[in-house]
């Protein structure tokens, strides 16, 4: 039995287990948010301005109805955060999936066929990554706002955000998949498939794709944290989710205005949730990266 096999059979470190539990809890809360949350922040009739700016229930002047207090519109912070977390995770996962799909497809094509197609796809990618993600995303939501009616923008905000983030992120998948595809392409089982006469599409999907997926999974996990943060940044800057349908970033932006008037909880509560979420995802991503890295496995 080698050291590698020994390592593979060992449990992940405690930090990873905790991160996994935190993430799992968040996912469950988010999926069942409409059932768990005391109120629906999208339903204007469910809250009233009378309850505005109440501190968390454990503080002086708190109200037992509002565990984490209320915001400037009288919305229960627990509910807003649950729904905000839901949107943040949804957009994060959506952006990662879209980027991975586009990136893996283009990476496979570039790596498998090589030549002119490869050069063109990769140069387009190079140009795209030379713009910062935030800048591109700001540009796209800006254009969308200018071209579409305010109502459409509000309705389609998550989709616009997903596209804006994915537009930059796919390049990383494409580069990794292209490199792995080139490696697999030179291996005998792919050459055997070619000699058998299988069509290119089948070789790419059936033979190469399953063998490059592990690296894609690792990048996807690490990028998930990045995508969530990008969305939060955009929403914080006002180019993301509207205040009527807030994500965590939107909540922090709203709370930011009250931070120095003593109403710290409106900004700090959603920010804490965001930090915990991103930290959990990152810890898991790092662990997966180390585990799938053959260079680290030898030790």
């Amino acid at each position: 039995m080698t050291t590698r096999a020994f390592l593979l059979h060992r449990l992940p470190p405690v930090s990873v287990i905790i991160a996994g539990l935190v993430l799992a809890t968040m996912l469950v809360l988010v999926v069942f948010a409409p059932m768990i949350a005391p109120m629906d922040p999208r339903d204007v009739s469910s809250y009233s301005l009378i309850d505005m700016e109440i501190p968390p229930s454990f503080m002086e002047g708190g109200d037992p109805r509002f565990l984490l207090g209320t915001d400037n519109q009288g919305r229960d912070l627990v509910s807003v955060i649950l729904f905000g977390l839901r949107i943040s995770i949804l957009i994060g996962i959506g952006a990662v999936l879209l980027a991975a799909m586009v990136g893996v497809t283009l990476g496979l094509i570039a790596g498998y066929f090589g030549g002119l197609i490869d050069t063109m796809l990769m140069r387009v990618g190079d140009v795209l990554v030379s713009f910062p993600t935030i800048l591109v995303a700001l540009l796209i939501s800006g254009v969308a706002r200018a071209q579409l009616s305010a109502e459409t923008v509000t309705d389609w905000a998550p989709v616009i955000l997903i596209c804006a983030i994915a537009l930059n992120e796919w390049v990383q998948y494409a580069r990794t998949v292209r490199a792995s595809t080139m490696v697999e392409n030179a291996r005998d089982y792919v050459r055997a498939a070619k000699v058998i006469g299988l069509p290119s599409r089948r070789i790419m999907l059936r033979h190469i794709l399953p063998n490059v997926m592990s690296s894609v999974m690792v990048i996807a996990t690490i990028n998930l944290a990045g995508a969530i943060l990008t969305e939060a940044t955009l929403s914080f800057l006002g180019a993301g989710m509207p205040a009527t349908y807030p994500s965590l970033g939107t909540l922090i932006r709203i709370g930011n205005q009250f931070l120095f008037s003593g109403l710290w909880w409106i900004a700090v509560m959603p920010a804490a949730v965001l930090v915990v979420l991103v930290l959990a995802v990152n810890v898991i991503g790092d662990y997966l990266r180390d585990r799938f890295n053959p260079k680290l496995m030898a030790h």
């Binding site: 291996r187 050459r191 055997a192 000699v195 006469g197």
Partner: protein, 567 residues
């Protein structure tokens, strides 16, 4: 003088995660006197490399010396730490590893690699070290040693690099050299030189050499004594001559019998047959299927290659600036129906490029390939691709690691619509597995569950699925142990006989070629230098290069014979 190496009841264990232990080396005894070459022979997994690692203190972390003793030049090794008081690895024990491409650091010159050990271990200055390095390079027969001191490893050929490695091993006048497969990565001509060098150095410097190898020819050529290992145990030990000519243990006998002889052609290699009634039954099914496919065609050669040239070019971004390397320069040959045609040559002679061109993996720059009378273009008709299949060299990468075996075998059958539905294709896959000597149920597993030989059988079964008329075998057995190789060669012969298959058989091993092929072409530098019937070529070679290859190929019989006449 104490023996260079004295191993007594050595036992090396690896703890397993399930609490058990794997005994890699089980109570072996071994003594090497100064100036003696002792060969440690066995198939992969026999524990021969572990012995070498144990005495150099290179055992991997969980592995440990459980009991027994090792002494190097009369000094006892501490079995707990793997170190020996007064013995420094690199000074008193020199190591020669298998791959000369990786055992030198590419960022240092030959001089700095050679002097590094001397400066660390011998109390001498840089100038003395340099003088000694020069002396060593001359001793190992490197031309222009002055200039070569300044060279980087990539500027040397494989053989020269291995000579530098040997010089490094000798640098501090070791008592013992451990040579682990020192010539496996080298061509026969270079191998012959390196073996002679090791022999001469052992004689002159009175160094004991532990030669770890799987190649019986190498053993016959230079070893004084042989120890044959199987599953961590010593099966037989004695003088090289007596073990090779009259092995006593049954395993030693099969191992030596499995070595394909270069002097004569055998109908089948004498290894225990693995044919069961199920195998024969399955082969009968395969025969009845393929016959229908084969009978429709006429007598013309299956494959005709004319003036084939292949260039690997570095196309420049600017027009008109191309640098091309000619891998194949005008090769012509024919493969007749039912024939096994051999292509033999040293590494880099272009034989694999020829195979890849025929298979459509490489586009030729000029010349033509006619297959069943039709010119092959890069894009080919489905029926043509179907009748031409290939078996690759490395069984470890030739199967998709993420696919079950029966799915992998059924894939081409379904693709060419040779089975009505998936269930029928699965049955066909099971039949093919049985025909190559594996059980039909083994198809449920993934490739990693099989040994190298088994994987190569699976690769053959997969290639037979589309019912080809020509099978290209590119070094199909060079990655395998001799007994497995013998079984596979027998299997390929059987399949040729039953399916009327033609084969293009590529190998660097002349003995294998002699056993397998009806006609042979010898390639050198991208050209065919000689093409003849196998028996004619081996009994009366015409081209000087062929004679050279035949003379240098290490062979059991020849050496045993010469020694017998000498004695």
């Amino acid at each position: 003088m104490p023996p260079s190496l004295d191993i007594k009841k050595l036992r090396v264990e690896y703890p397993l995660t399930n609490g058990g232990t794997l005994v890699a080396v089980n109570d072996i005894d071994l003594t090497i006197r100064p100036g003696e070459i002792h060969a440690l022979v066995g198939e992969s997994g026999a524990g021969k490399t572990t012995v070498g690692n144990a005495l150099m203190g290179l055992l991997q972390a969980p592995g440990r010396i459980a009991s027994g003793s090792i002494s190097i030049a009369g000094k006892q090794i501490n079995t707990r730490t793997g170190r020996t008081e007064g013995i420094v690895p690199g000074r008193d024990v020199g190591a020669i590893f298998q791959d000369p491409m990786t055992s030198l650091n590419p960022l240092f010159t030959v001089e700095s690699q050679l002097c590094e050990g001397m400066l660390a271990h011998l109390k001498i200055g840089r100038r003395q070290a340099r003088a000694r390095a020069l002396e060593l390079l001359t001793a190992v027969g490197i031309p222009e040693p002055e200039r070569r001191l300044k060279s980087y490893p990539h500027q040397l050929s494989g053989g020269q690099r291995q000579r530098v490695v040997i010089a490094t091993a000798l640098a501090c006048d070791p008592q013992l050299i451990v040579a682990d497969e020192p010539t496996t990565a080298l061509d026969v001509s270079v191998q012959a030189q390196i073996l002679k060098l090791i022999r001469d150095l052992a004689n002159e410097r009175r160094v004991g050499v532990l030669l770890v190898t799987h190649n019986m020819g190498v053993v016959a050529q230079i070893a004084d004594r042989v120890t044959i290992m199987q599953n961590g145990c010593v099966v037989e030990s004695g003088s090289a001559h007596s073990v090779l000519t009259s092995p006593k243990a049954p395993y030693a006998r099969t191992l030596i019998a499995a070595v394909p002889p270069i002097e004569s052609r055998l109908e089948r290699l004498p290894v225990p047959s693995e044919e069961t009634p199920a195998t024969l039954n399955a082969r009968e099914k395969v025969r009845s299927k393929t016959r229908q496919a084969a009978e429709t065609t006429n007598d013309a050669p299956v494959l005709a290659v004319r003036d084939l040239c292949v260039e690997y070019g570095q196309r420049s971004f600017l027009p008109g600036r191309t640098s091309a390397y000619k891998a194949v320069k005008g090769v012509s040959f024919e493969v007749r129906r039912g024939e096994i045609f051999g292509l033999v040559g040293e590494s880099g002679c272009g034989k694999t490029t020829v195979a890849n061109t025929i298979a459509g993996l490489v586009v030729p720059s000029s010349g033509s390939v006619h297959f069943q009378g039709v010119a092959l273009a890069a894009r080919r008709k489905k029926s043509l691709r179907q009748s031409l299949q290939m078996v690759f060299q490395d069984p470890y990468s030739a199967l998709n690691p993420r696919m079950r075996i029966n799915a992998a075998i059924a894939e081409p059958i379904l693709f060419y619509q040779l089975a009505a539905n998936a269930a029928e294709a699965r049955d066909d896959a099971a039949t093919l597995l049985e025909a190559v000597g594996l059980s039909g149920q083994s198809g449920e597993r993934f490739a990693h569950a099989f040994s190298g030989g088994q994987r190569q059988r699976i690769a053959i079964a997969r290639a037979l699925g589309p019912q080809p008329s020509l099978l290209i075998c590119d070094e199909p057995t060079s990655a395998l142990d001799v007994s497995v190789q013998a079984q596979l060669l027998n299997l390929l012969k059987d399949l040729r006989d039953l399916a009327g298959l033609s084969m293009l058989f590529i190998s660097h091993d002349l003995a294998v070629i002699r056993q397998m092929c009806d006609r042979v072409a010898v390639m050198k530098g991208g050209e065919i230098v000689e093409l003849a019937q196998t028996e004619t070529l081996f009994s009366a070679p015409q081209h000087p290069y062929t004679c050279e290859l035949l003379r240098l190929a290490p062979s059991l019989d020849r050496i045993i014979k010469t020694e017998t006449t000498a004695a």
